[in-house]
């Protein structure tokens, strides 16, 4: 049984990467949907294969999409901006996320959201360490602000394992920016 994140945490989830998508990611999504939370899953390189993997692994995928409980996003635009240190689109995304939470509450649904994305991981993989930290700091600040404003929004940053970064400061900074670190291997969560 996967030990899943609590609703309001900023999580660093290490997984085995696109060629070995572990069950932990799907477990997080299914668990959040079971709890009535809105899941926003974003990927920088969203492709047909990934959508097929999600649609076959997520319970009641189509219904969750059409019911507004699940949103799959292509984060390509965000990656392009983040890779040059521009975070204005993230500020707009933050407004949209807050609006989603408020509208769900207004419609009698849970205002809890789970955001999952891999932008930071892609930045890291492409050697953009400073930009990766900058982007993670943005999420940490946004997450903190949401908590302070009573919004229950979990942010799950998906990183491919291993990170292959020989920089202890980076690893220290990265871990400091997350409230919870989870490592999953080949379908099993440790």
């Amino acid at each position: 049984m996967v030990e899943r994140s609590m609703p309001c945490e900023h999580v660093l989830l290490m997984h085995d990467g696109p060629h070995h998508p572990d069950r932990a990611i799907l477990d997080y999504i299914n668990d959040a949907l079971d709890r009535g939370q809105l899941v926003v899953f974003g990927s920088v390189n969203l492709n047909v294969w990934q959508v097929r993997w999600l649609s076959s692994g997520i319970t009641d995928y189509e219904n969750n999409i059409t019911s507004g409980n699940l949103l799959i996003l292509n984060l390509g635009d965000f990656y392009e901006f983040a890779s040059v240190g521009q975070l204005e689109p993230f500020e707009e995304l933050g407004v949209i996320v807050e609006e989603m939470a408020k509208q769900r509450i207004a419609h009698g649904k849970s205002g809890e959201l789970v955001l999952m994305g891999d932008i930071a991981s892609c930045l890291l993989r492409n050697g953009k360490i400073d930009e990766c930290i900058l982007e993670e700091r943005w999420w940490e600040r946004a997450h903190h602000d949401w908590l302070r404003n009573g919004l229950k929004i979990a942010v799950i940053c998906m990183y491919e394992n291993p990170m292959n970064v020989r920089d202890s400061h980076f690893e220290f900074d990265l871990s400091k920016l997350h409230g919870l670190l989870i490592t999953a291997h080949s379908g099993q969560n440790l």
Partner: protein, 124 residues
Amino acid sequence: MISQKLKGILVLDSDTRFLESIAPTLKKTSLLATSFTNPLKALYFYERHFKDYSVVLAGIRLPEMNGFSFARRIVAINPKAQVFLLTTFHISKTEVATVLPSTKVAGFVQRPILEQTLLGMLEV
């Protein structure tokens, strides 16, 4: 061709550089165009002049309220108003319609807004 039904466009954004950048294109349309940087001032104006402005273009990040709240208040004043929200990334109305069911917008427009996009919004 610009619709004969359209009388004017109200533009709201906190970024004055953006407002300056679209001014020449708006001028080409020959439509009545009025810009604001503050949503409360824009709403105050719109309540009094909504019959003259059928299209509203607004940023998402605004002082005092966000673009979604602004759009709802515009549509409450004038249900026939077509409100477009400005974003710096691509987003489609159909993509987010189910997760933002109370959103009263005609669509999202990506910055920097191209002349042909703006003119397209104003076509019949």
